[in-house]
Amino acid sequence: MINASLKQLSQALAAKQISSLELTQLFVDRIARLNPTLNAFITIDAEKSLAAARAADVRIAAGTAGRLTGIPIAQKDIFCAEGWRTTCGSKMLANFVSPYDATVIRKMESEAGLVSLGKTNMDEFAMGSSNETSFFGPVRNPWDTERVPGGSSGGSAVAVAARLAPAATGTDTGGSIRQPAALCNLTGLKPTYGVVSRYGMIAFASSLDQAGPMAASAEDCALLLNSMAGFDERDSTSLERPAEDYSRDLEKPLAGLRIGLPKEFFGEGCDAAVMAAVRAALAEYEKLGATTVEVSLPNSHLSVAAYYVIAPAEASSNLSRFDGVRYGFRAEDYGNLDDMYMKSRAQGFGAEVKRRIMIGAYVLSHGYYDAYYLQAQRIRRLIANDFVEAFKFCDVIMGPTSPSTAFKLGEKAADPVQMYLSDIYTIAVNLAGLPGMSVPCGFVGGLPVGLQLIGNYFAEARLLNAAHRYQQATDWHLRRPLGLG
């Protein structure tokens, strides 16, 4: 049961082979045993989880259950969940218990009947690519506990990779679902911007943030996305579109699929062994009937620079509400109001968050706005146009998710620019607002490698199809880390 897919769990629950309570208890016990080593969860509350499981069992017994009712999941600690401590990985919110549910939580738990196992660890305010910026300590990669799991959704990635949960939610602003999925041998999907509501998801960079599923397979991701997506009148950037079944095209044959290979993703900057694994995956796709074509994203080399103007600019403003006045951390021993602000924010935020707030405030300030912020927005449009051009020649773009496998804890922590380059292949997708996935495609030195799939706007079903057919032909995604017990 620990290694079962969502589809298998759904069938087992429907057939009454296991109750949600029994299933949830299995994972609760496993978390209790393994979380002290892995640190994947910030908050667990077995009583709450088991109560939700009992409620799910009532629904199942009454015949009012949905497909996912009773299946346990892990929620990234960026989603506000009523009655749960919601920290966003920060000291600033270490004492914050949310009085309301994010739309994602409401849809997944209240509506679909999924059972929350707890809130997963993450880089502070989702700012990081290694999970080392969390106030609650780093998360350890189950493939090598001396290595990082990636970030910012590192806790969610490890929870699923170590089977502390069958699946999890993540959020992705510059690669925060795809990069940890790649480093932990998971399948992760960042949907088109606006497909999943951002209401109740603590904002990092509003124009880039998007929630999505992290699971063992494309099929599981499709099922999970069905429970997450949909128009929400509480989010003005949410898109008003008819509901879709993201698993509808999973089995479609890949014959005729045109795969675009951006020459900019296959040049320097990527570990050679990682690149070899990616090329082997492309060969597999050709065997499945797909063709490849070289495309170009001529402005993609500017994406990291543009991103590190736009994302900090938005973050500097989004994080202003954490001022110690109404909730969250407030410093002791302050004099006047300004002193309270300065001490609370100086002590409540970690170094990376403060670095980005300062960058953001700088690029928005009088006299610099045009040179940085407006210029970055221009580059953002150029990058989006590059993709529009490329998709005239292909259906899906592929390449590496991350330029390397999981690196050692502390290896890049002192060098922010090296850390930022971990997301060199993922960031452009957020800037353009496109859907992107990472799919397991091999191992280098015992560490997982991810293949990135990028689709056109609203092509989630197409991406999931391409990933699923590959996973039918390969078993990379079924490999589990050993030695966890």
Binding site: T86, F96, S98, S207, S236, S316, R321, A361, H366, Y369
Partner: protein, 484 residues
Amino acid sequence: MNQWEVVIGIETHAQLATVSKIFSGASTAFGAEPNTQACAVDLALPGVLPVLNRQAVECAIRFGLAIDAEVARKSVFARKNYFYPDLPKGYQISQMDLPVVVGGQIAVQVGQGDKAYEKVVHLTRAHLEEDAGKSLHEDFHGKSGIDLNRAGTPLLEIVTEPDMRSSDEAVAYAKALHALVQWIGICDGNMQEGSFRCDANVSVRPKGQAEYGTRREIKNLNSFRFLKEAIDFEVQWQINEIEEGRRIQQATVLFDPDSGETRMMRSKEDAHDYRYFPDPDLLPLIISEEWIDRVRGGLPELPVHKRARFVSEFGLSVYDATTLTASQEMAAFFEATVAVAGQSHAKPCANWVMVDLAARLNKEGQEIATSPVSAQQLGGLILRIADNTISNNIAKKVFEALWNGEGATADEIIEKQGLKQITDTGAIEALVDAVLAANAANVAEFRAGKEKAFNALVGQVMKAAKGKANPQQVNDLLKKKLAD
């Protein structure tokens, strides 16, 4: 003073009369217990998002149409970033580069009587934004309290060009704007509750100089009197400074109504860098042609058009027409009165509404919308004056009786109280004869050249007639008899 020219521009924050807040569903009603009308969005809890209130946008469109401005087909909300405890998000959502209303103008009447003139004030822009909460500095034993009920209340910030040249012009503009926003139903105009508050940008320059002097901004003036006093003080202060050889420094100042003085709040050097940028949580506001047409269709006749019609249709003076269009309620009352009394009696209708009724309402502290004497009743009363059934003096009695509810119509009161004017020449002649016979002394005085004695005799006749004799007939008969 005479060689100085005053230059004034005004920024007004008008609180929009919407049911809920501009970006959340919480109520905007005034006066609730602190923090009972602040939802998760207003409290800026982690993760919450703004959703624009269509009703607030409609108010902005109404305003744009009413001042003949351009309603922007696309406008953008921006974040104005600064820290303050009553600003929960650490930024205010406002509009910066692309406001919802651009340009426009308001024609205002300045001064009274012979000195009255019309002034056209041009508007730069009007934009939508949210209000902040309130800091409460009393009763917390050395701490400050925060009330976020007002946080997120929709505001329209209305900005003029520096067109005004005196505090009188500034006040006339502010009053006209105050009337207009109520007229088109977008603001309740309640200045005590802060629904309508003005900032005045004031500078002076030597007459004839083309460039403007350095301005200082007087913040948060919530009465017309304070607006005038603050500008007058500020102008004199700036002139004194310059005449004593000092330069004016750009600054924001506050007006203290107790001392009647302005004092500096912050200088330009202390001004915040608000780091404006487009709010990524909100899409650009797109206003369609159809939406504008729909709003236009729902607009009432505007004061400027009504005023022109009162002059051309009813032959009223511009001054009277302006007074009668000070509010929609007053204009409606006047028009309903004319509808009963007839267009040929529009002038007496205007006088009764503007003078007698207004004075009586004012005395009792009542509003015209809830006047005890209805327009129908007043129109009926004016008809009886016009057809000589009663004199003006008796009419005042009838009006008083209507006010006190002594009858449903003027006719009923005239009938019941026997106030019908005596116009029968024979009856009046008998009264005149009796008075002349009984007041020989007055008659003698009049004949000796004392004009005053005549008035005394008229008074005696009217007294004998209990006020009901037609005054003109009394005059004529007396003159005739005395001349005999």
